[in-house]
Amino acid sequence: MRRNVFGRFLRDHLRTLVGWSVGVAAVTALYSAFWPSMRDSGDAMDAYLESLPEGLMESMGWSSLATVEGYLGATVFGLLTPVLLVIAAVTLGARAIAGAEEAQELELLLAHPVTRTAVLVQRSAAAAVFVAVLGAVVFGTLLVLGPAIDVDLPVDRLLAACVSVTLIALVYGAVALAVGAATGRRAPALGAAAVLAVVGYLGNTFARQVAELEWLRFGSAFHYAMDPDPLLHGFDLGRTALLLAVPVVLAALGALAFTRRDVGV
């Protein structure tokens, strides 16, 4: 089989992917394994939570820690895997064009009979596969481990939640990739994606309790991915489509800027 830019990029990041997969699987397994003990002390936990200010529970998205959906929604899907996958996607997105350019590796590739658009599209696709594998690791871990730790979720809703987390990561990864493709520099790519992700996460959190901040949610991928909660309601076609469209549009904008500038200066 002929090697291409897509395959080469994945191959070059295979070790990284294995490392991330182990980490994501470990974190997912560790936190979901707390569920049985959490459930057993569930009543006490709920009583404790009720003693907390009302807004705090709401803002953290803790509907109830006494149900498995509530517990996983607050821990694995509410914070841990989104953070891990977003970090993986953003660093990879920034590396795909800008990082390679700063490392002076891009020039040799672009001196070959490939278009810049093809390089960007193939590397974006490879990065998307990378992130999707991490999403699949979350799904697989919970699927395999579920029976042993009493995590008994319908497969379709579990899948919907994993897809949502993956899409959040893809959106911010695409921001990093597009900004990097446009500027050729890693720092602004990482910066833009990190700022948007943090504002998106906090914005979505605060907006739950402060009506004046409601607008913040419109720019937040977390909002579209996690509200309504996919663990409770399964796929939302409209929002899934939107979260898929955003990275595609970002990549297209990145390609547009990338093809119009000097490389490696």
Binding site: R8, E105, E107, A111, H112, P113, G264, V265
Partner: protein, 306 residues
């Protein structure tokens, strides 16, 4: 005048601005099919900028460029298919072996027989199984040369090809360039050292401060090339003996030592020196900057005055 075939590289009024800084000032360059063309100039003269424009890595601000009869802006892929390019600065971060990268780059070109890669690697004494990131500067340069030559391109564009190579490998490289020319292929190579290209190039252009100061046959350039000469005699000599010799300038006679700069042939100096017992004779080529600064600014001034 005889009709020459279409040039392989042709630029007219090629200009490049980086923001408000102008890097290239209206370059007119013609490289003929089948010749080895040296692209000379000190570091920072704009050689790499010009070369990158030929491959559409960066975009010109004004002027026209044709490579193999096509415009890099619109036909970049087609041009790059037929060109072998050695970047001026090669860095590899991959842990994968060199063989892997070369197979990948070959596949981007539609496949290159492994035997061709192996033969080149053997010639340059390059171990293809070593991880890329562990390679020394010289070995990285060899990987770069292999990927530039391996698909037997019609045009080789080589940015400082000999940097990092030891003298033995430089000779091997020059042999590769001569073979390419014997096959009817064209080589366009840059250097900041005249001696690196003078043995192999047919013609050369000299770039300084983003301006083309000369395009000449290598022979003419070599005649022009000034050399710094130092001779030590067994006994003191008189300055008058050496003053006014053809091609000798900047003369400095100090007892038994003579220092001077020789433009072109050192014949007159050698014959004069032969009248005495010579203990030592050193001859060093001044760097290009000095060389062409002296010669061509003088020419310009003469031209302006006329």
């Amino acid at each position: 005048m005889h009709a020459s075939p279409d040039p392989v590289i042709e630029t007219r009024g090629l200009t490049k601005d980086y923001g408000s800084r102008r890097a290239l000032f209206g370059l007119d360059l013609r490289v003929r099919a089948g010749e080895v063309f040296g692209f000379l100039g000190p570091n920072g003269a704009g050689k790499s900028t010009t070369i990158r424009i030929l491959l559409d890595l960066i975009r010109r601000s004004a002027g026209e460029v044709l490579v193999l009869g096509r415009d890099p802006r619109t036909d970049g892929v087609e041009i790059r298919r037929r060109v072998g390019y050695l970047p001026g600065d090669l860095v590899f971060a991959s842990r994968r072996p060199a063989r892997d990268l070369l197979a990948y780059l070959g596949d981007l070109r539609g496949g290159v027989p492994a035997a061709q890669v192996d033969a080149l690697a053997e010639r340059l004494d390059l171990d293809l199984s070593r991880p890329l990131r562990s390679l020394s500067k010289g070995n990285r340069q060899k990987v770069g040369l292999v990927q530039a030559f391996m698909h037997r391109p019609e045009l080789l564009v080589l940015d400082e090809p000999t940097s990092g190579l030891d003298p033995l490998l430089q000779r091997e490289f020059l042999a590769m360039v001569r073979e390419a020319r014997a096959d009817g292929r064209t080589v366009f190579m840059s250097s900041h050292v005249l001696s690196e290209v003078q043995d192999v190039a047919d013609r050369a252009a000299v770039l300084r401060g983003g301006r083309l100061v000369a395009t000449e046959d290598m022979d003419a350039l070599r005649r022009r090339a000034a050399r710094r000469v130092r001779i030590r005699f067994a006994a003191p000599v008189a300055a008058a003996e050496f003053a006014g010799l053809a091609g000798v300038r900047d003369l400095d006679v100090d007892g038994d030592a003579v220092r001077c700069v020789v433009d072109g042939s050192p014949d007159a100096l050698v014959k004069q020196a032969a009248r005495h017992t010579v203990l030592e004779l050193d001859s060093a080529e001044p760097d290009l900057e000095e060389l062409f600064f002296t010669y061509y600014t003088d020419q310009e001034e003469v031209g302006d005055a006329a």
